[in-house]
């Protein structure tokens, strides 16, 4: 069995493990769908009324019966119905996912296009003032919470320029590219800033390691230009930790950037799952977490495959 097949075989087991954990965890938290809907007025219900609502929300049976039902549905490709949206969970997820995916891609493009050159620049100007400047900016980027940056951007745009990205409803890229970009560019910058800072720092340190390697010295002694040494010989080898970092960050972003989606009122996956947790929309929480876990595993697999592409000396095998 080759590496890819073995990894794929583990997927269902990981997913079942994740779903079990989520199923138990959300039910251990006090409060249920009834208190989420009625608030303190839930105390006005008679036992019969409470029972009727429990049946409506599907929480009238013991948890193991509920889990069995949910698992049976899952095996048939049915993630259940969201009580908030009144629609199949998978349909709700698919409606929200394009925004999250696009935001994750856009912020990764920003992070890599800024972070990698900045890291390379800092490494090739090691211990010079320009290196120090890049490191300071990167440190600021990493230590600035995204909600602070997001709120500052919103304030600066609205108070300084009298403009603001469209908030609330999502304009898909294929329907209105201009509105879509106008909506996502500032959230992507907000997310990409800290991401770029991490990429800068890791690119810089990886480049510094590589630049002190023997083969780089050899290339230099053979008369290769500084540019060629940096970009052709050193950078490809320095990219492996960047790919690892990007993979992990991208995996997280595919789970939804909750805070940025909240601030910019973007109807993405993160905001949806937060709302589902607060509403105790169990089916939606379980389905979404499963979806996020699957995304994360796929991204991790792609990262492993990317190692192989970047450095054919690496042979993928089980460790």
């Amino acid at each position: 069995m080759n590496y890819l097949t073995r990894r794929l075989v583990t997927f269902p087991f990981v997913l079942i493990g994740v779903s079990s954990l989520v199923f138990v965890a959300i039910r251990m938290v006090p409060g249920d769908s009834i208190t989420a809907m009625l608030g303190t007025d839930a105390g006005l219900l008679t036992p019969t009324q409470r029972e009727a609502l429990a049946v409506y929300f599907g929480i009238d049976q013991p948890w193991f019966v509920q889990y069995g039902r949910w698992l049976l549905g899952l095996l048939q490709g049915d993630l259940g119905i969201s009580v908030t949206y009144g629609k199949p969970v998978f349909e709700v997820i698919l409606k929200r996912f394009p925004l999250t995916l696009e935001l994750a891609l856009l912020s990764m493009i920003i992070a890599l296009s800024v972070g990698v050159p900045a890291g390379v620049f800092a490494a090739t100007h090691n211990e010079r003032p320009s290196d120090l400047a890049v490191r300071i900016v990167a440190m600021i980027g990493q230590s600035t919470p995204s909600f602070v940056l997001g709120l500052l951007i919103i304030y600066a745009l609205s108070a300084g320029f009298g403009v603001l990205p469209i908030m609330g409803e999502f304009s898909p890229l294929w329907q209105d590219p201009l509105a879509n970009l106008s909506q996502l560019i500032f959230p992507a910058i907000t997310l990409g800033f800290a991401f770029a800072a991490s990429v800068t720092r890791i690119s810089r340190s990886a480049m510094l390691d590589i630049l002190s390697e023997d083969y780089v010295r050899t290339a230099r002694s053979k008369g290769a230009s500084s540019r060629s040494v940096t970009w052709r010989h050193a950078l490809p080898n320095a990219l492996i930790p960047v790919v690892t970092l990007s993979g992990i960050e991208f995996g997280y972003l595919l789970g939804g950037a909750v805070i940025v989606e909240q601030i910019y009122a973007l109807p993405g996956l993160g905001r949806m799952v937060l709302g589902a947790i607060l509403q105790r929309d169990y089916a939606l929480v379980q389905g979404t977490v499963l979806f996020i876990a699957l995304n994360f595993m796929i991204v991790n697999l792609l990262v492993d495959l990317a190692y192989f592409a970047l450095d054919p000396r690496i042979r993928l095998r089980d460790r």
Partner: protein, 507 residues
């Protein structure tokens, strides 16, 4: 090559940002009100939804028989007129013959009967059922007359009927089981689309029996962060907004072109004590806590002074001067003496629960109370909880003290019977059964003379303040903010947005 690629990418990002800022704030339509709020409705069934945000949406779509105006007076909605029989055992409504559902069908007495039967049916799970238990039967002598037969006189039932939980829905939709999945009311707006936690689109119901509507529709965006709502108002992206956080609301008047509507609310901020737990079982300890708390300081510090100190009765028609109530002027020496007399001269330790962000001032209120009670030796441990966790503990009465923002009602009986009558549904929360309080509320329930009711509830207020099972703090404002081009909105103490049906937007 990489440099060039980087330059191109950075240029693209910058260009996209420029395009982004250029492409915004385009008005959807001059006659469509663009509105925002931070919390969305949680469902469409008017009989089971009790969340403030749900009621604000549903009251634009559905109508009850009567409604409350800005002065909390009962005025016609679907019913043109109503009358109690002399013995108080019959309540007769005459419906507006022009009233129509958005499906085109007339609103008839059969729909009223079916709606109330649905509320009373335990299988529906309507929390408001508790307000209508005196209904023994419903007669429909003709299509526009409904007679409620009551098992005993019930003066507060009329105010309860003004709530959205008593909305009239089509009998045909009840039979089809589609209440909550389809929204067919008789109100001023039709729900065209609803994307939960994102956006609602309402269009004007041109056949509304209530009269002409000033806008073509309302587009509601859910913007969870209220500073973002303020920013959207500032840039003209929205015309109207509902605000909860006084810190954000007080910034609105600083902006040219914006107007803040501030309305005293009948909801009340309160420190709930648990009189079933030592040492709050002792009257002296509860009174000491009441005397040690500076209510104005709590209001000023936690809520920037946005509100007013209140006694238990927040309804303007029933409210009295709170300074006349027990220990409403802070008296630390008296508090210390009461503690010593109760055997707690050295103080005690207790915990106080509060919900994160609900209300926005909860944590600050708990902190101010903590510092004030420290002066009489009470060491308070603040436990901040996620809202549902808080509600779970609150409903079980599982707390020493709780910081709460409780909803007011237009009638004192409906507002307080749940806590302070011996059969109240929330006895477990108040943990305090008292003969005098129970008797006064029962008297207020059956009394129909407004002047006599005011006296009865005045006695209730004085008595409960002295017994101090809870420490009423202040009532705050409900806020809406709008562009000055919007006119005609009348704020209500209940927070109702119903008057959006009469707003207009200047071109």
């Amino acid at each position: 090559m990489v440099k060039q690629l980087t330059k191109k990418l950075l240029s693209s990002i910058a260009l996209a940002a420029l395009l982004g800022t250029a492409a915004i704030s385009t008005p959807v339509s001059a006659a469509t009100l663009r509105m925002a709020w931070s919390q969305d409705a949680t469902g469409l069934d008017p009989h089971t939804q009790t969340a403030f945000s749900s009621i604000r949406l549903l009251e634009l779509i559905y109508e009850p028989l009567v409604r409350l105006d800005a002065g909390l007076q009962i005025v016609p909605a679907l019913a043109d007129s109503w009358q109690f029989s002399a013995d108080g055992l019959e309540l007769t409504f005459k419906l507006n013959p022009k009233a129509m559902f958005q499906s085109g069908a007339a609103v008839t007495s059969a729909d009223v009967k079916a709606s109330f039967e649905r509320v009373l049916d335990e299988a529906t799970g309507a929390a408001a059922r508790a307000n209508f238990l005196s209904i023994a039967g419903i007669d429909t002598p003709d299509a526009t007359t409904v007679v409620f037969k009551l098992s005993h006189p019930d003066a507060p039932i009329l105010a309860a009927m003004a709530g959205m939980n008593a909305a009239i829905v089509p009998a045909s939709e009840i039979a089809a089981g589609t209440i909550g999945t389809k929204a067919i009311g008789s109100g001023p707006f039709k729900l065209e689309s609803w994307d939960p936690n994102s956006k609602e689109v309402l269009v004007a119901n041109q056949d509304w029996a209530g009269g002409a509507i000033g806008v073509d529709g309302i587009d509601i965006s859910v913007l969870p962060d209220e500073t973002a709502i303020l920013a959207a108002l500032r840039t003209g992206q929205i015309d109207f907004a509902l605000l909860n956080d006084p810190l954000v609301a007080t910034l609105v008047p600083r902006e040219d072109g914006l107007q803040l509507n501030r309305m005293p609310s009948i909801d009340y901020h309160v420190l709930q004590l648990n009189p079933s737990r030592e040492p709050m079982t002792q009257l002296g300890v509860r009174q000491a806590i009441s005397c040690a708390i500076d209510r104005q300081d709590v209001l000023d510090t936690a809520s920037l002074g946005e509100g007013k100190v209140t006694g238990p009765l927040t309804i303007p028609a029933f409210a009295s001067d709170p300074s006349q109530l027990f220990c409403y002027q802070r008296d630390v020496e008296k508090a210390k003496k009461l503690m010593a007399d109760a055997g707690y001269a050295g103080g005690f330790s207790a915990s106080v629960i509060a919900a994160t962000g609900e209300p926005a001032t909860a944590a600050a209120e708990a902190q101010v109370i903590q510092s004030q009670l420290a002066e009489i030796g009470i060491k308070l441990d603040i436990k901040m909880m996620e809202l549902n966790v808080y509600i779970d503990a609150w409903l079980k009465g599982d707390f020493d003290m709780a910081v709460a923002l409780n909803g007011g009602r237009a009638d004192p009986y409906t507002m307080y019977n749940r806590y302070w009558t011996k059969t109240g549904n929330l006895q477990k929360v108040s943990n305090f059964a008292d003969d005098t309080l129970d008797s006064l509320l029962q008297k207020g329930r059956v009394e129909t003379d407004p002047a006599a009711r005011k006296v009865i509830f005045g006695e209730f207020e004085k008595d409960i303040s002295e017994k101090s099972p809870w420490i009423w703090l202040y009532s705050s404002y409900s806020y809406t903010a709008q562009q000055k081009t919007v006119s005609g909105f009348v704020p209500s103490p209940t927070g109702s947005l119903f008057s959006l049906s009469s707003v207009t937007i200047q071109q």
